[in-house]
Structure formats: C-alpha cells, structure tokens
C-alpha cells in the first residue's frame, strides 16, 4: 500500500530536518523517495507536526515482574478500564495496564517502539508471551545479566572472552536486545537479604566488586559489538547521597569508551541524583551529574521523571524495593530468580505536598534541562516507577514551557520549591529537541537503524500531532501542546494507519526485535555448561532457551561478534 503524508512540518533530527514543510512517502511499510501521487492514499498533515514514531528506551511493560504488579493491584485497575470494541480488545489501566491496553495507549501517543528493560533470563518466555499480546508497537527486552553467576565467576577469573561467549549465548537464547545491569552485585547479595554499599564493596562468596562487574560487562559489550551500550541501574539507587555513585559509575568506564562513542547508559537517572545525608536533608544532585555529562561523551541517560500520581514501583533491585516497603509500609512483593537476579514491587503514591517527592520531580526536569545535549538524555518515567507512560505529554509541556513548570512548582511543597533549581533555569526546549529526546536520540542510542528517523529505507513508523509550530508558541500555549501529544492525529505503523484522532483503527501485531549474536565459532553446549546447568538451575538446558515458536512476529537483528 502506498501512502503520502502531505504538507506537514517534519521534524527528523537524525536527517537534519528541523520543521521543514515537506511530504513523506511510504510504500510497503518503508519510507521511500516518492510514490504515485494519484494512487497513494493521502493524509493531509498541513499545520501539523510530523515526527518519526516514538521510541521508548526504558519502560516496564511485560514480563513476570510487571504481571506480578498487575496481580498485586486490582485497585489500580478498578478506576481505569477500556471496554471491548469491534476492533480492540478490552483491558484495564492505570499504572500497570494489561497487555492490549498498553499497546493501544502507546500507539495513541504516537509511540511505535518500546523496550522492556528487565527480563529475568529464566522467565524470558513469559516476557515474550506477553509481547505477543501487546499490539501495534514493536518491542524488545534486555536480559538481566549483572548478577548472573556465570558472569560473576568468569569475570572474577578474568576470562572476559569466555564470559562474552556466554553472554552472547544468553542474549540469543532469551531473545534479548541488550545487557542490563541492575544494582550489580547487590542482587546476588540480596539472596541472603543483604546489599552492597558501593562500587568497591565485595559480593559475598564471589570475590568480585560492582566496579569489576560493570567494567567487565562493558568490555563484553564491546567484544560482542552490541548495538546498545550496557544499560545500568546504579548501585545505591534511591538513597540520599547516591549522586556520587552515579558519577563514579560513569567514571569507571571512562577509559573503555572509543572515539567519543557512548559506552554506558545510566537509566532513570533521577533516582540516582540525590544529594544529602538523609531524607530530611535531601537535595538535588542534578547539577553535579549534568556537569559531568556535559564534559564527557561516553554516557547517555534517561530521566526517570516523577509524576505526581499513584503508581506501582517495580525494579529488579530487590533490596531497594524492600527499603521502599519499610519506608512506605505499603504492600510488598519480592521475587528472586535463581542464579540470575531478583525483583520487587511496591505501590507508591508521589504527592505534591511531600518534600522528597517534590524534590524528585524537580531533579528529573533539572537533569533534562541542565544537560545541554539532548542526544545524551532521553525522556522516560521509568514506567511505572516514576509514573505511568501516559504522562509523557505532561513532561513534554514542562520541558517546553517555563510557564508550565512554574504552574506545577506553585503547587508543590514550599520547602522543595525554595530549593529547586527550576526557577533559575530559563531553557525551554523546541520541537526538534523534543523529537530527539523522545525518538531520534533513543533510537540512536539503541542502535536501531530503521527507527527514529524518516530517511529513505526507514520503517514507516510515523506520528502526526495536531499542533502548528508556526502559530503555536509552546512556551505560552503549553496546554495545546500537551493535548496534541496526548492523542496523535495519526499514528502510522509499518505504513498502516493505526490511529486516527486518538482512536485505534487497526489491531495489528507488533514485532519482537532480538539480537542474533554470532560469535566467530558457533557456541556449542559443552559438557561443562551442561554440568553447570544441572548445578545452577532447576530446569533442563533443553527447556531453557526461548524458541522462535514463542515470537509471533520475530525480527532478528544479526550481530557479528569479535570473539
């Protein structure tokens, strides 16, 4: 099918197009140079923004942890549900929406690619089964490898290449996309109910430190030529004073970066930008982090913005979740996974009137505004940890308008307001910068060649928003910007129009992207590995890998490794 998006203001930062009025031609699911204008279906985008489909680098949308969150929170669903229509399936929200609803809601906002950042390798099949039930958007998932016994043991012995081969095997057999580290070392320590306190604290029984794990996996990442960097949730997350750990984490791989290329992605940075000795003296550490990031080119990060709402926190960081349970007294789920990782869930309500929550809200925005290069920091809420993804339009408004920030700042805790850096920041982002932070930059950081831009040959994932950049000043009319980003005028996925004015037109299945990491010699299951399998896991090695049968729409990406 041919499609022509006419007369829109196109924002395509990866191809250097900044609000030019032009047509985008689509044929067979790809962007092409031109189509037969008489035959093609035309979409009139005059007076509207045309951007590549949104890309979300970090959003917990599927898998065992998310599903436990759904199970834990019926009260979250009662207030928010979507009935079945002749086209769509029914479902529920709010902070942990059911699978179908997740797909529809992302598509309605013009998002077409979402990465689930935490997959316990043993339970990878679950993530992929849920992916099959998330319609429209393309997905991928990062296996949690930072506390995997294989990694700890091989890194301790300095056998980087072998470690890399096992990591390659793991990524391919769990159909994963990147190496995810969560509180490296801390999760193994949590196995007996403890935690590591910093980068140089030893992991009990394994004689290895978080620093060694991070550096080791960074080297592995390079050996395997993976498209994304290591994706790191730092140690000490959610503790006052942890901005030091975040900066140290970035510093520790400084020498491993090549030719100004990123070597590390610090995820939901807001949660690790706390200054102060305890919750009462909590302050923003965003300036220190921003200064470091502005001076270095090897790190990217995402915001993890806090939204004032009732949400459900879920991370693989078991000890952090336990601390959050002790802090809040809310219900708590813990789920440790043998030899690999752990996880926890605690419902949480961010309140405007709470000093700590208001400071957190401020930190996220400060980071996004103080880091000068939008290619280094991306917009996320770490859904659902900072807030549900449906709040993205609000964040866009805050980033684009000083007035919008001021309106919210007026309502927050006064002590937090007086300490916030936001009043001193005049920067207001433009549509091009928003396009970078919500799609182009994320796609670039992920190494997704066909996503996040509208160049010829790219996937025809397009979002059209009903706001005119010539007549609308986002700084003043932030409400109409927010409205436009909440409901895309049109979302086009693989050349098909799937959303029109916020209404789903088609229920199409989105693809699951995964890395087929090809090592120099194909990895065979050795006797040693079989033995370890028997000792380490309670399942047989034949039943461990995710077969292609589990991926309804499979999109493998071949990667040639150097080992």
């Amino acid at each position: 099918m041919e499609l022509l998006v006419k007369n829109g203001f196109v924002y395509d930062p990866l191809n250097g197009i900044d609000g030019e009025k032009m047509d985008i031609a689509v044929k067979d699911g790809k962007i092409v140079e031109k189509v037969n204008e008489r035959k093609a279906k035309k979409i009139d985008a005059s007076g509207m923004l045309v951007m590549p489909g949104g890309v979300d680098i970090h959003s917990h949308i599927a898998g065992s942890k998310v599903n436990s969150g759904r199970l834990l929170r019926p009260e979250d669903h009662f207030k928010d549900f979507e009935p079945k229509t002749p086209i769509t399936r029914s479902g529920v929200g709010y902070s942990v929406p059911s699978t179908f609803t997740t797909g529809y809601r992302y598509a309605r906002m013009g998002y077409t690619t979402v990465m689930d950042p935490a997959m316990a390798p043993l339970e990878a099949k679950h993530t992929h089964e849920e992916f099959n039930d998330i319609p429209i958007i393309d997905k991928a998932s990062y296996p949690l490898l930072g506390d995997w016994w294989f990694v700890l043991e091989y890194l301790r012995e300095g056998r980087i290449e072998e470690c890399a081969r096992y990591v390659a095997w793991m990524i391919t057999s769990t159909k994963g996309y990147a190496i995810k580290l969560v509180n490296p070392g801390g999760l193994e320590t949590w196995g007996f109910g403890h935690n590591v306190r910093g980068l140089d604290d030893q992991v009990p029984y394994f004689c290895i430190t978080p620093r060694e794990i991070i550096r080791g996996l960074c080297k592995v990442n390079k050996l395997l030529n993976l498209p994304h960097t290591i994706h790191v949730h730092t140690n000490n997350l959610g503790k006052p004073g942890n901005y030091v750990t975040a900066v140290e984490t970035m510093k520790c791989v400084e020498d491993l970066a090549l030719e100004n290329k990123p070597a590390i992605h610090i995820t939901h940075c807001q949660f690790c930008a706390f200054k102060g000795d305890d919750w009462r003296t909590l302050e923003s550490g965003s300036e220190d982090i921003a200064n470091y990031v502005n001076g270095h080119s090897h790190a990217t990060m995402d915001m993890g913005q806090v939204i004032f709402a009732d949400t459900t926190t879920m991370t693989a960081d078991g000890p952090f979740q336990f601390a959050l349970y002790e802090l809040s007294g809310n219900k708590w789920v813990n789920h440790d996974v043998e030899t690999e990782t752990s996880g926890g869930i605690v419902p949480f309500h961010y309140r405007r009137k709470s000093y700590v929550h208001a400071v957190q809200w401020s930190i996220g925005l400060e980071l996004a505004l103080l880091i000068r290069d939008p290619w280094k920091i991306f917009m996320t809420t770490d859904h659902p940890n900072g807030g549900p993804f449906i709040a993205y339009p609000k964040i866009i408004a805050w980033l684009m308008s000083r007035k919008a920030r001021g309106a919210t700042l007026k309502k927050v805790n006064p002590r937090a307001r007086s300490r916030s850096l936001l009043p001193s920041i005049d920067r207001e982002l433009g549509f091009c910068e928003i396009a970078i932070m919500t799609r182009a930059g994320q796609a670039k950081a992920l190494g997704l060649k066909d996503k996040g831009h509208l160049g010829i040959g790219a996937d025809a994932d397009i979002a059209i928003y009903n706001v005119n950049p010539e007549t609308t000043d986002p700084s003043r009319k932030y409400k109409s910007v927010r409205r436009a980003f909440k409901q895309a005028a049109n979302t086009i996925k693989d050349g098909k129009i799937v959303v029109n004015d916020g209404e789903i037109l088609k229920h199409v299945g989105g693809a699951t992207m995964w890395l087929d990491v090809q090592t120099l010699e194909p990895i065979k299951i050795t006797e040693e590995m079989k033995r370890k399998f028997k000792e380490y896991w309670t399942v047989e090695y034949e039943n461990y890998p995710v077969t292609e049968h589990y991926l309804e729409v499979s999109r493998p990406i071949t990667v040639k490794a150097d080992v």
Binding site: S90, E129, V333, D336
Partner: protein, 488 residues
C-alpha cells in the same frame, strides 16, 4: 527405541522437566525420573475413560457426532447465552487459556479457573499484603530452613523435597538426604531393640516417645545444616521425615500463625498452649525462624481452605514479611494442577485479574464472591457453561453443580469425567503435555515448554485448536445476527 529427554511432566505444580520417556510403536513404554503420579499418567493416559468421538445429547442420551456439529452446537449455546460460564483451564496450556479469554470476552461471560476452589484465597491475600517469594532454585541453593504448612509434599508433590528443597544439593546448602537415611536406619534399629526388649521381658511395650510429649523436644532443630519443619493437622508422610513436626488442632492455624508473629517480635505469650501446642515448642521454632540464613515457608490447601481461608494466608504472608526484617524469608503456595499458575498468569496479563473475571459489561470486572464461578452458580445466574479440562460436577458444592447441569453444558476434556456425563456437548481433546505442546507455569512462575511426545487419537484436537474453532463459529453466528438485525 527413541528416548525423548527433558520432558515436562503435566501432573502437579512442581512441573519436573527432567522426565525421560521411551517410545515404542508410538506408545510410551517406559518413564524415567518420574514419580508415581508421573509414571501413572504417562503410561495409562490412554485408558478406557478416554473420549474418542465428539458427543451431543439427543433425547436425553449422548450420541456420537462429527466435530463440526459439536463445535457448531457449542457456538450456538455460547452465542445465545446471556451470561455463560467458562471454567477450568488449570490442566491445559497457556496458549489455550489465551484463546479462552478471547472467547469469554466475545460472548460476554465469566471466565474462572480452578484456583477459585484452591489457592484463590492466596491470591486475594497477595493483593492485600504482597508476597516475598522466589524461584525454587533459590531455595535449593540457599534455604537452611524449610517449612511445609498444611501441605504434604511427599504425597501430593512427590519430588518437591528432592528437587527443590531439603534433599536437593545447592551451592550454599548441602542435601540432607544422608541425614534422613541415617535417621531411618536409627529408627529401624530402635524398633529392632524394642522388639528384642519385648521378647526378653514379655511384658508390655516400653513407652515410645511421641512427638513433643517428652522432655526436650527436638535436638535437631538447633543443629547446623538444613532443617525441615512440618505443620499439619495430622501426622503425614512428610511429617515422618521432618526434623520437627507440629500438630496443630484443626481450624486453629490462624491462631498459631499470629502466635508466631508475636514470638518473632520477641513478645511473650500469656498462655501455655496455642492451637494445642505448648508455647515453649513454638518459641523454639520461632528461634529457628529468626536464626536461619534463608527460610522458606510452603503452604497448601490445608491452610487456604480451612477455617479462616484468606485470613490464614494474610497471617502467613505477614509472618514472612515480618521475618524479612530479621533474616531472609520467602513464602510460596504449593500449587496443585500443573498449570494453574499459568492460568492465573495469562488471565492477569490480558485482563489485570488472576481469576473470576466477568466480561458481561464488555470490560474485565473482578470481584471474587460475586464474579467467582461457584457464587454465580449458587445464585443461579448463569445460563450456559463451557468447561475446559476440569470436573466441577465432582468437586463443586452440590447446589452449584445442580445449577450447572440444569443449563446447557459443554465439556472439552480428554476424559469421560462426571461433568462430561452430564453434558449436552462433549468435545474430546488431546492431552496437553503428551499429545499437544504448549507452555505451563511452575508454582514459582517459571515458564516451561510442554512437549508433544505421542499422537492423539484420530480426529482429536488440542484444546487450543478446538477453542479457536468455537470462537470463529461464535463470531460467524454473531455477524449473521447483526446482519439480520440491520436488515430489519
């Protein structure tokens, strides 16, 4: 003879996946590694109770029909019903449950799985308290204290202790198998001595120490290594092998749990006995709980379905949660059917709720007690039912079963069970995990693939395929109705 390795056993929630089957002439002739239940299923599944042809009730009798007729009839029943029930799901694959949920949404019915009469209270309590849990391998590697409460793994999950808990070999904890063998030998020796003494003196039997009625109870409880505690209303097979057995009075689990909650906070109890157990013994056990490195509490239907139901589980979950401030402790329900966890999981990701989901308003509603199948039946609200891989007529309260069979009833099952005998349409299905592949979730939510190792009888389809056909037939009927309505 071909040997199929790493087969997942479709019997209980332990979901052992190391079964080796020897196949000869397309039949399973030998089972290796399996327990008695596993062997019996793999070797006898194709017995005389097998249904081989679809059946439809005509003039009060079930007569053979073609698959097409049976599917058509089922679709008519479901499409015409106002408030149908779709029940079962725990002994089939997740793939089938997925289609079942779509079907339930299409016909606007109530979909519920067997958790409602089993671990439903556990799920309600998790929604109230949360749960500190892990995968079974974590227990194998780390647990030095294992408690089974209201559950008899030796009989109901025969390989649970050997594969995942006390008798398994972990990285940080050794297997207690040898200790157990020594204990058995000692007890045999003791019996021999007793019989010798009896013969020598020809007098009355010397008194045998019985559980905790004798001085200091259990020297083993404070020893190093893995300890096994069993808490139950009767001395089960599992209790025989435990280091420590507490016999709780029936229906008093809640009191005992709350007593433990007080004791682990170092509070003193003002009574001598709780639930029939002297407090000093409870103190010893609570010391063991607080003093362990990694404790695991497994609970069974003995806790969920005795008096108090979800309140018992509330107390158990809270106990474990509280223990986590002192040490590392986890809790896990002993799920019965091999894929009951999977049925809950699929239902949760599609609808947000684990069981008892009502689609009658076009979106998922959940209110156990109102939307759970037994309650719907007791209130006589449903007007048709589709039962997949379950036997409610044999298990439900009589009144519920009576209402179930009064209305049109369709059964999809490999067996001619009690419900199938009362049904209006019976659709034979292939055995999931033997004749049909799929996915099942272990009790700790680890997904495992089920293998197809044998051919189903001719013309017999897997649940998933049967449900797909019913769904497409229902949609056809609905479309016709719509067209007819528009024409008028």
């Amino acid at each position: 003879m071909p040997v199929v390795k790493a087969v997942t056993c479709p019997v209980c929630g332990s979901l052992c996946d190391d079964i080796e089957l020897t196949i000869e002439d397309k039949e399973i002739v030998k089972v290796k590694n399996g327990c008695a239940m596993c062997e019996s299923k793999f070797l006898n599944y194709n017995g005389k109770h097998r249904i081989r042809k679809p059946l439809i009730r005509k003039d009060g009798k079930l007569v053979k029909a073609t698959l097409k007729e049976a599917v058509r009839k089922t679709a008519e029943i479901l499409a015409e019903a106002n408030y149908p029930i779709l029940y079962g799901w725990s002994s089939t694959s997740c793939e089938a449950t997925r289609v079942g949920l779509e079907l339930a949404e299409e016909v606007g019915g109530v979909i519920d799985n067997t958790a409602v009469v089993c671990h439903g209270p556990s799920l309600l309590s998790v929604q109230e308290i949360g749960i500190s849990s892990c995968t079974l391998g974590q227990i194998r590697h780390r647990a030095d204290l294992v408690i089974y409460w209201g559950s008899d793994p030796w009989s109901a999950h025969p390989r649970h202790i050997e594969r995942y808990t006390t008798f398994s070999e972990g990285r940080f904890e050794r297997s207690e198998w040898r200790g157990y063998v020594a204990k058995i030998k000692a007890s045999i020796g003791r019996k021999k001595i007793e019989s010798v003494l009896r013969r020598l003196f020809l007098k009355k039997k010397p008194t045998v120490p019985s559980s905790y009625l004798e001085g200091r109870v259990c020297p083993t409880i404070s020893r190093e290594g893995r300890k096994l505690i069993v808490i139950d209303v009767r001395r089960t097979k599992s209790a025989e092998m435990a280091d420590y057995f507490i016999q709780v009075e029936p229906n008093k689990d809640y009191e005992l749990l709350q007593a433990f909650r007080a004791l682990i906070r170092d509070q003193e109890l003002d009574v001598d006995k709780v639930a029939g157990v002297p407090v000093e013994y409870l103190e010893e056990v609570s010391d063991a709980m607080v003093g362990c490195n990694f404790g695991a509490l497994f609970f069974g239907v003995g806790l969920t379905m005795s008096r108090g139901k979800l309140r018992n589980i509330d107390a158990a979950l809270s106990l474990v949660r509280d223990l986590n401030t002192r040490t590392k402790f986890i809790i896990m329900p002993m799920r019965g059917h091999f894929n009951v966890a999977g049925a809950n999981t699929v239902s949760t990701w599609q609808t947000g709720y684990p069981y008892a989901v009502d689609f009658s308003l076009g979106y998922p509603r959940y209110n156990p007690g109102e939307t759970s199948v037994v309650d719907v039946l007791m209130r006589k609200e449903s007007d048709a039912a589709l039962i997949v891989a379950s036997d409610p007529v044999a298990n439900f309260p009589r009144k519920a079963a009576e209402h179930l069979v009064e209305n049109p009833l369709v059964v999809v099952d490999p067996h001619m069970n009690a419900t199938a005998h009362m049904a209006d349409v019976v659709l034979p299905s292939a055995f999931v995990g033997i004749e049909a592949s799929g996915t099942a979730y272990r009790m700790d939510h680890v997904p495992l693939p089920l293998k197809r190792v044998a051919e189903p009888p001719r013309g017999v389809l897997p649940d998933e395929e049967i449900l797909r056909r019913i769904l497409s037939e229902v949609r056809k009927i609905k479309r016709k109705k719509q067209v007819a309505a528009e024409a008028q």
